[in-house]
C-alpha cells in the first residue's frame, strides 16, 4: 500500500520567528528597541564624529564652562567642547569593543569548533590551551601586557583579545559536543556528509544562537573593560577623546565641574546598558528563556 503522493497532507505549523518570544507569543517591543539602540550606537560610533559641532582637539572657548546651548556638555579643563569629544569618543570605545568581541567569537569559535568536532588529541591540546587562558586572571594580565607593550588603543585591543577568546571556545566546544552527540548529526554522518559539510551545515548553525547570545551579553563587559583600561591610562594617547580617559582625568573636578567626569562616564554607562538590555533581549529571542 504505497501511499500516493499527497496522501498525508501537511498540517503546517507556524514558524517561530526570531523576534518573537516563545512563551508569550508576543513581540517584545522592549527587545526591538534595545536591538535598535545597539544599531544606533554602532551607527553613532561610525558617523558620530561627522555630527560633532567642533574639532574634538581644538580649544573652542574658556575652560570649565558649564553645559549650555553653545556647548551642550560644557567645556573641559582646557576649553575643548565636551559634546564633540564625547561624540568622537563613542567610536573609540565601541568599535574596539566590537572588534574584540568579533575576534573572540572568531578565534574562540574556530578553536571550539575544531576541539569539539575532532576530539582526540586535538581536543586535548586545544582544551588545555583554553584552560590555561581561562585560569589566568585575564583582565589583570591584559593590564600587565598593555603596560609592557606600551599603552595605546591597538595594544589594548590586542591584549584584551588575547584573553577574550577562551570563553567563546568553551561555549562553542560545549555546543558542538552536545550537538555532535545528537542523533541528527549521527544521521548526517551515516548519510555520508563530508567532514566539512558536517561542520558547516550540521554543527555550526546549531551553535550560532548560543554564540550570538554570549557575544551580545559580552559587549557590555568589553566596553567596561576598555573603559577600565583607558581609565588606567592604557588606552589611546592624548588628545584622543577616549571616554574612560576623559572621565579619569577629570575625576578631581567632580565637585567643581561635575560634567567633566560624569558625562563621559554616563555615556559609557549608556553604551553598556544598551548592550546589556539588548543582550537580555537577544537571549530571550534565541534561547526562548
Amino acid at each position: 500500500m504505497t501511499l500516493p503522493a499527497g496522501a498525508v497532507k501537511l498540517a503546517r505549523r507556524p514558524v517561530p520567528s526570531l523576534v518573537r518570544s516563545s512563551h508569550s507569543g508576543r513581540v517584545r517591543w522592549g527587545d526591538r528597541i534595545a536591538l535598535g539602540a545597539l544599531l544606533l550606537v554602532t551607527l553613532l560610533a561610525a558617523f558620530g564624529p561627522l555630527l560633532a559641532p567642533d574639532d574634538p582637539n581644538a580649544r573652542v572657548g574658556a575652560a570649565f564652562q558649564a553645559p549650555s546651548a553653545g556647548h551642550l556638555f560644557g567645556t573641559d579643563d582646557i576649553g575643548r567642547d565636551v559634546f564633540t569629544r564625547v561624540l568622537s569618543g563613542i567610536a573609540l570605545t565601541w568599535l574596539p569593543g566590537l572588534t574584540i568581541i568579533a575576534g573572540g567569537v572568531i578565534v574562540g569559535g574556530i578553536v571550539g569548533l575544531l576541539s569539539g568536532a575532532f576530539g582526540g588529541w586535538i581536543d586535548t591540546v586545544l582544551q588545555r590551551l583554553t584552560d590555561l587562558f581561562l585560569v589566568l586572571p585575564a583582565t589583570l594580565i591584559a593590564i600587565a601586557v598593555v603596560a609592557a607593550l606600551g599603552p595605546g588603543l591597538v595594544n589594548s585591543v590586542v591584549a584584551v583579545s588575547v584573553f577574550w577568546w577562551p570563553w567563546y571556545s568553551r561555549i562553542m566546544r560545549g555546543e558542538i559536543k552536545t550537538l555532535a552527540a545528537r542523533p541528527h548529526v549521527e544521521a548526517a554522518r551515516l548519510a555520508g556528509a563530508s567532514r566539512l559539510r558536517l561542520l558547516t551545515r550540521y554543527l555550526l548553525p546549531g551553535a550560532v544562537p548560543a554564540m550570538v547570545v554570549a557575544a551580545t551579553l559580552d559587549v557590555a563587559n568589553v566596553v567596561l573593560v576598555l573603559a577600565l583600561f583607558s581609565f588606567l591610562g592604557l588606552g589611546a594617547p592624548a588628545p584622543s577623546p577616549e571616554l574612560g580617559a576623559m572621565s579619569a582625568r577629570s575625576l578631581e573636578s567632580l565637585t567643581t565641574a561635575w560634567w567633566l567626569p560624569i558625562v563621559p562616564a554616563v555615556v559609557i554607562f549608556l553604551l553598556a546598558f544598551a548592550a546589556n538590555v539588548a543582550g537580555d533581549g537577544v537571549r530571550r529571542m534565541l534561547q526562548s528563556v
Binding site: 586572571p137 593590564i143 553598556a272
Partner: protein, 331 residues
C-alpha cells in the same frame, strides 16, 4: 577526589610556570629598566649598573628565569621588591588580608544581589524595577559607582566613612587579618562595626557587577529548571512556589551561576586595582598600583602569581561547589 586535587595541583604549578614565563617575557619588553626603578631617577649610571648586577639582570634571561623558579618553588620566595626593599612575599602577606576581607565581603554582597535579582524576578511580579536598577548598576563603570557612592554617601550625606579600613586607632592586627573578625575576637564590637561601615561601600562597588552577572545566570538557569519535570513533581506535592524554588530549583540551578561566579572573581581581582585606590584600601590592589607606578616588576610579578594561584584555587573551589550541589557530578 584525590585525582581531582592532584590534577588541580599539577595545573596550578603549570600555570604558575607559564605565568612566570609570560611576565619574564613582558619584563623584557617593558620600556622601564628595573635597576633604574630600584635606585631612583637621580642616581648616577654607576649606581644603576651596580644595582643591575645585584639584581642579576646582567645574566642571560633563562638563568634569571631558572633562578626565579628555583626560588619560587623551592623556597616560596618571590624575590625582593625594589620599591620597599623587602621580600615581595612578606609585602603581599601584609597586604593580602585587607584585600581578602574586601573580596569576601564583595562576594557576599554579590550573592545577596544575585539571589535578590533572580528570585525577585522569578517570584515577585512587582520586583521588576529591581532588575532595572541592578542592570543599571552593572552597566556603570566601576570608577563611576565607586566615586558617586563616595561622593553621596560619605561626602554629602555622611552616612558612611570615606575610605580606609578603619577610622579608629590601634586596630588589632589579630589572628585572621580580617579587621571585622579580629575586632570581635578582641572583644571590641564598636571597632568591628566601624570596620563593617568602612567595608560597606567598597564591597558594594566591587560586588555589584558580579552580583548582577551571577543573578542573571541564576535567573536564566532557574527559568530552565522551573520547567523541569521534577519541579512539576514538587508543585504537585502542594509546596508553595517559594518552597519549590528553595528546595528543588535553586540547587539544581547552581551550576551556571557558580561558573559565572568563578569567572567574575577574575574581574573582581582586576577591579581591586581601582576600588582599592579610590577607597584607600590597603590591600594588594593598592600595592600593585603603587608598584606599577614605580616600575617594581618583581612586586607586580609576585602579585600576579599570588592572585593567579588564588584564582585557580577559587575556580577549583567552584568545581567542588558544583560537585556538592549536584551529586551526579563526580570530581
Amino acid at each position: 577526589m584525590k585525582r581531582f586535587l592532584l590534577l588541580r595541583l599539577a595545573g596550578l604549578v603549570g600555570v604558575l610556570v607559564v605565568m612566570t614565563a609570560v611576565v619574564f617575557v613582558l619584563r623584557q619588553l617593558l620600556p622601564a629598566d628595573p635597576a633604574r626603578a630600584a635606585v631612583g631617577p637621580n642616581a648616577p649610571e654607576s649606581v644603576v649598573a651596580a644595582k643591575r648586577v645585584e639584581l642579576g639582570l646582567d645574566q642571560p634571561l633563562y638563568l634569571q628565569f631558572g633562578r626565579y623558579l628555583d626560588h619560587l618553588f623551592l623556597h616560596g620566595d618571590l624575590g625582593q621588591s625594589s620599591r620597599t626593599s623587602r621580600p615581595v612575599g612578606g609585602d603581599i602577606i601584609g597586604a593580602l588580608p585587607a584585600s581578602l576581607e574586601l573580596v569576601v565581603a564583595a562576594v557576599l554582597v554579590a550573592i545577596v544581589i544575585g539571589l535578590v535579582l533572580a528570585l525577585g524576578e522569578l517570584l515577585l511580579p512587582w520586583a521588576k524595577p529591581i532588575r532595572w536598577i541592578l542592570l543599571a548598576g552593572a552597566s556603570a563603570p566601576i570608577f563611576l559607582t565607586g566615586l558617586l557612592g563616595l561622593l553621596l554617601l560619605w561626602f554629602k550625606w555622611h552616612l558612611l566613612p570615606g575610605g580606609g579600613r578603619s577610622g579608629l586607632a590601634d586596630a588589632p592586627t589579630g589572628p585572621t587579618g580580617f579587621l571585622t573578625v579580629d575586632s570581635l575576637l578582641a572583644g571590641r564590637p564598636l571597632l568591628a562595626w566601624d570596620a563593617v561601615q568602612h567595608l560597606a561601600l567598597p564591597a558594594l562597588t566591587l560586588g555589584l557587577p558580579m552580583g548582577v552577572a551571577v543573578g542573571r545566570a541564576l535567573w536564566s538557569s532557574l527559568l530552565g529548571t522551573m520547567r523541569q519535570d521534577y519541579v512539576r513533581t514538587a508543585r504537585s506535592k502542594g509546596l508553595t512556589e517559594g518552597q519549590v524554588v528553595r528546595r528543588h530549583a535553586l540547587r539544581n540551578s547552581a551550576a551556571a551561576p557558580l561558573s559565572m561566579a568563578g569567572l567574575q572573581i577574575g574581574l573582581i581581582l582586576a577591579n581591586l586595582l581601582i576600588v582599592e585606590r579610590i577607597f584607600a584600601w590597603p590591600g594588594i590592589g593598592l600595592y600593585t598600583v603603587q608598584s606599577l607606578g614605580t616600575d617594581d616588576l618583581t612586586a607586580v610579578l609576585g602579585v600576579a602569581l599570588v592572585t593567579g594561584a588564588a584564582y585557580i584555587v577559587i575556580n577549583a573551589l567552584v568545581d567542588l561547589a558544583q560537585a556538592v550541589a549536584d551529586p551526579r557530578v563526580s570530581l
